[in-house]
Amino acid sequence: MVEQPASKPSSDVGEPTTPRWVKLFGLVTLLALLVFALVHLAGGGFHHFGGAEPAPGTPAPAHQGPHR
């Protein structure tokens, strides 16, 4: 939500380096992405949602009754 720059910090001018919060945020984001990717890969990969479908040749799910 970008607002009018009325609350824009004036001390930005004197900060030639990347702020510490950005570095910390980048580090946390990288770790989170790594965990997220690992969770997906452990679960069968990003493209593998179809893998949960019954493989060809397996018994038809219609015979499994009214289970979840």
Binding site: M1, P9, A62, H67
Partner: protein, 172 residues
């Protein structure tokens, strides 16, 4: 390009409304995903996945697009800019990432919803994508909370592009 005050407020209103609605919709989606995964009553579980598919296409996808585009217009139309401040840039990247993630996951949502439509198909066969929907919805919710926090606190810090722009403006 700088918007006039009326147009700026209009874009800001649209952006806040769509962003907060997107967050709320994802929270609801997460509740349904958990209900679908842990529920005991078959009809309720199936209803949850059918509702999730409708929500995705008719609420979450349009809101994410509206939030992204209204945010871009809003930032370009004010002195904040799109690439000048770290918080705006990070928020843009997170929003784009969340939107892409959402589009990527319309497939498993459709897959599980189609299975839920057929009462003869056991949803136990879809345990993995159902679990994945919970994890991804939780991740998306966290991400949207972070973008909201960034919007409210607006932490300091100019990008190198922002510093160059500011120096150029100061030297005029």
């Amino acid at each position: 390009m700088t918007l006039g005050p009326s147009l700026r407020k209009l874009f800001l209103t649209v952006h806040i409304a769509t962003s907060v609605s997107w967050l709320g919709a994802v929270a609801t989606f997460l509740v349904l995903a958990v209900a679908g995964l842990l529920g005991q009553v078959d009809a309720r579980i199936r209803a949850a996945y059918l509702a999730m598919e409708v929500m995705t296409w008719w609420t979450i996808v349009p809101l994410s697009a509206a939030s992204l585009f209204s945010g871009v217009f809003q930032s370009l139309g004010t002195p904040w800019g799109l690439l000048r401040h770290y918080w705006v840039l990070i928020k843009l990247l997170l929003t784009v990432f969340a939107s892409l993630l959402l589009l990527l996951h319309t497939r498993p949502i459709g897959l599980v919803a189609r299975a839920a439509q057929d009462s003869a198909v056991s949803l136990d066969l879809y345990r993995q994508p159902r679990m994945q929907l919970v994890v991804d919805a939780a991740a998306a919710l966290l991400l949207l909370v972070v973008t909201t926090v960034l919007s409210v606190y607006k932490p300091r810090g100019l990008t190198s592009y922002g510093r160059r722009k500011q120096q150029a403006a100061a030297s005029l």
